[in-house]
């Protein structure tokens, strides 16, 4: 979806303090110049290939396909990227942009810690100072990633305000950015925030879908029937969806976190239960009360524990280009275990949400259908969380 004004239908925009407006305007200008600049794009592709390890495989999950006895299941293996998730694709693009703009200090928010780790990694490689904002709740439940970030030389701020999760980490990162606007580049971790961030992040993540599209054409000689991805802010999903936008026969399904269940109020299913509002600089769908106070959300997965969603997803939903569903914590944990046992692949709890929906959908489909599941990250960071659950026997 091209958008000159930074809008996707009614969604998007720039609801930020005046202090950062010129920085956003400059960012947009630099970004537009960079992606037209063949040297820049070559450097970006060089690092994707040589450093992140792209292209990632589109793996035919034969065991799972046989077990589910429905459609053929392929996994887009973003978990095999350096640092263990799709987040590095976007970080390499934004770090190169920061370098091009002469910024020496980068900051980022992080939920699961994957974006924080990716940013700390990029900063280490390019010799930049790096500070990461992470909700105190997430610092606790993603301790492995906190250690990784510190090892990589980043400073990790534990954010105590609000609910101590991803939303508050974004608030705090924006506050830091407003304060150090002159020397700091904010590496946004998902397709959220004020324009031009949702577009920037999508452009640096769409490599997932471009590869997957070419790979499935090569393996199967045709496009898939379904593409399934989990949705927190929505970057791995938009990354794989966007290149299929014009292939109307391909159904795009985003999977949100239903937490303890949609009816309990303890979930993060923005698409299912949200209404139009403004948060983190964007107009989008939001979990909020009747006065616009943002509501506490819940998911077992820190990366999906977010009350908003990228504006382009809100738009995809509105125009019916993608469908959004939600799976519970319990279903995600079952899928986490299932994929580990059947395919020998331990998925991130975020990605396990996409797998969980596939486990429900695939058996209902005829054998000649093809489903691609975006496996956005690996599950090492979640092993402790899952092992501590009474219902899981390890």
């Amino acid at each position: 979806m091209k958008s000159i004004t930074g809008r996707f239908g009614i969604f998007g925009g720039q609801y930020v303090p005046e202090t950062v407006m010129n920085a956003l305007i400059e960012l947009e200008k630099e970004f537009n110049a960079a992606i037209q600049d063949e040297d820049f794009m070559q450097e970006y592709r060089y690092y994707l290939r040589e450093y992140a390890g792209r292209p990632t495989p589109l793996y035919f999950a034969q065991n799972l396909t046989e077990k589910l006895s429905g459609a053929k299941v392929y996994l887009k293996r973003e978990d095999l990227n350096h640092t263990g998730a799709h987040k590095i694709n976007n970080v390499l693009g934004q770090i190169l942009l920061a370098k091009r703009m002469g910024k020496k200090r980068v900051i980022a928010e992080t939920g699961a810690g994957q974006h924080g780790v990716a940013t700390a990694t990029g900063a280490a490689m390019f010799g930049m100072q790096c500070e990461i904002f992470m909700g105190k709740e997430d610092v606790r439940r993603q301790a492995l990633n906190v250690f990784r970030m510190r090892l990589l030389g980043a400073k990790v701020h534990s954010v105590e305000s609000g609910t101590g999760t991803l939303k508050d980490a974004v608030n705090e990162a924006i506050r830091d950015w407003v304060t150090r606007i002159e020397d700091t580049f904010y590496v946004m971790g998902s397709v959220v925030g004020p324009h031009p961030y949702p577009t920037i992040v999508r452009e640096f993540q769409k490599v997932i879908g471009e590869e997957a599209r070419a790979q499935i054409l090569e393996k199967e000689g045709r496009l898939p029937d379904y593409v399934i991805a989990c949705v927190g802010g929505g970057s791995n999903a938009m990354g794989i969806f966007h290149p299929f936008y014009h292939d109307k026969q391909v159904k795009l399904i985003g999977v949100e976190a239903a937490g303890l269940g949609l009816e309990t109020g303890k979930h993060a299913a923005t698409m299912a239960k949200g209404s139009v509002g403004v948060l983190h600089g964007m107009k989008t769908l939001l979990l909020q009360d009747s006065e616009g106070q943002v509501m506490p959300v819940h998911s077992i997965s820190a990366g999906l524990d977010y009350p908003g969603v990228g504006p382009e997803h809100a738009y995809y939903k509105e125009i019916g280009r993608a469908e959004y569903v939600a799976v519970t914590d319990r279903e995600a944990v079952e899928a986490f275990v299932e994929l580990s046992r059947t395919e020998g692949i331990i998925p991130a709890l975020e990605s396990a949400h996409a797998v969980a929906y596939a486990l429900k959908l695939v058996p209902q489909l005829p054998k000649d259908k093809i489903v691609i599941v975006n496996l956005s990250g690996r599950g090492d960071k979640d092993v402790e969380t899952v092992a501590s659950l009474p219902e899981v026997e390890v």
């Binding site: 609801y15 005046e18 305000s161």
Partner: protein
């Protein structure tokens, strides 16, 4: 439109008066409902007595991203009390019986948007609000709110920052009330000093507008106010006052400390 709308906005009257007297406006901020709405009503009256010329009332919000820790905590205290916008409107309506001091809402955009822009502005007008400041609504997004506030004779106070430069003429165009000049990059909160070259900054703003200009963010004491006052028409103080409210052990102590603080600042203006 009724007759009320044709009379002069209270904010304009205050700046006209002060200009004649050759003195500067003291604009004070408190968060509505912190620690409770009764206290807010008392504080409005007390601050006016102490010499405040204009009062900003913050509408508590779950995600105040332009605010530092002091005002964040004030917002959280008010929300924990279950304060709703309707309660704040009612409080203002009743305080309006007792004072003609200009009152301004400081409100995040989502509160206005979700409440309904027209409904919010209309009710604000009806209860006696004179201006609205929306810290996360830049020029590019303000169109609809701007038009509606104009209809009701409320000023949508424009904000400029030290980073605004070429944007200033557009920001102040057709605006009313005063220009809120953010003193420095960053969020609200007390500071020991302000790094910005205020003289150059205020000269730049003045090149584009004759509107009154008030400086806010980080001003914590009479010394700082007196250093800044020659460059502007008003000084805005928030966190320093909210901090006193937070520290006070009783209602009397709160009113007394706020009163003395404001007296001290007003004296140098």
């Amino acid at each position: 439109m009724n007759m009320m709308d044709l009379t002069m906005n209270r904010i304009d009257m205050v700046f006209n008066d002060l200009r004649e007297k050759g003195s500067k406006a003291l604009i004070t901020y408190i968060t509505a409902g912190d620690p409770n709405l009764g206290a807010t009503a008392d504080l409005i009256i007390e601050m006016e007595k102490a010499g405040a010329d204009i009062i900003e009332l913050g509408i508590p919000y779950s995600d105040p991203l332009a605010d530092g820790p002091v005002i964040q905590r004030a917002s959280a205290r008010a929300l924990n009390n279950g304060i709703k916008i309707a309660d704040i409107m009612n409080m203002v309506r009743s305080v309006r019986q007792a004072t003609q001091i200009p009152l301004i809402y400081l409100v995040y955009y989502n509160s206005v948007f979700k409440y309904g822009i027209d409904r919010f502005v209309k009710e604000a007008h009806d209860v006696g609000i004179d201006g609205i400041i929306i810290p996360d609504l830049p020029l590019e997004e303000r169109g609809e709110v701007f038009d509606i506030t104009k209809q009701y004779g409320i000023h949508l106070i424009p904000l400029v920052a030290p980073t605004s430069h070429q944007r200033i003429p557009k920001i102040v165009e057709n605006a009313g009330g005063f220009v809120y000049c953010v003193s420095t990059t960053g969020v609200t909160g007390e500071r020991d000093e302000i790094q910005t070259n205020i003289k150059d900054y205020m000269e730049e703003v003045s090149r584009y507008t004759d509107m009154p200009k008030a400086i806010g963010f980080g001003i914590s004491n009479p010394d700082m106010a007196s250093q800044l006052k020659d460059y502007c028409d008003g000084i805005i103080i928030g966190s320093a006052i909210v901090s006193l409210i937070e520290k006070a052990a009783s209602r009397d102590e709160m009113l007394d400390s706020v009163y003395r603080f404001i007296r001290g600042v007003k004296r140098v203006l």
